[in-house]
Amino acid sequence: MGSLSFEPLKLERVNITVGDNDSGLSIKMSGMIDMRDPTLDILPYLLKIHEEVLKKSLKNIKADFTDLTFMNSSGIKTIISWIMKLNDVPVEKRYKINIIYNPNITWQESSIQVMQQLFPDFIVVETE
């Protein structure tokens, strides 16, 4: 497995970094996603990662949300748009997203559980 190299995405109130880990790749989001339209910056970045993960045939990636203190509904829409891209991928090429969340952050406790119920084949959630 070759390593993936991504420049961090640094926006006014949120940073996204990408690194390698034992199981494949890890994405860490820190700050707040509360901009008007995160599909302009964040979604293209996530879709670039998606394409690279498919090229490298990775089967698992970690998405660490534990330092993401707030996400508006446009942010949720952005994350869902990324996850739903897996519908366009043949089953044998799909990867699983392991979301690490912080149950002490109110929005995560509720919204992330709902995402898992909606996409049980695509995401696994666990607390930090």
């Binding site: 508006n72 446009s74 949720i76 829409k77 748009s81 929005w107 509720s110 919204s111 909606l118």
Partner: protein, 165 residues
Amino acid sequence: MPTKSQIINGRKAFVELKFGPNWSYISTVRNFIINFLAITLFDKKRADHIAMAVNELIENAIKYSDRDGIDINLEVFRNKKDDTIKVMVCNHAKKNEVETLKKILDEINSEPPLEAFMKRMRDSAIAECKKSNIGLARVRYESNAKISADYENGFVKVFAEFAEK
């Protein structure tokens, strides 16, 4: 001033804010509401839920307000008898937009909250779906709020009522 202060259950709001329709104000308002309600209600989680709802309602007010430069009014009411909190966000809007909003609210309010939220999460990722209304469904599910809307003299008032936890 576009609207008079509301009187609900014989009381004026215990928080009233008026601000321009500027996206960068939203997080400041959200943080103020969290901090204010956390010390008023002694319940950080409930304050977080209400502040999230306020955030979503103000975002909608800014996105769908049909006139630039007209202030948004936010009022928060507390009924100490049953410990309910009611939030009102008021902005200028076209009548037909408000009729559409009312239909959406009827739909969301008629569905189980979890199903309503999941349905709009799915819809939100469909490119053709410009207005998924995921924010309203989120407010209903996460904070168990009753949401309603009224229209008067060119202004829409959106109410969210939070029962005692």
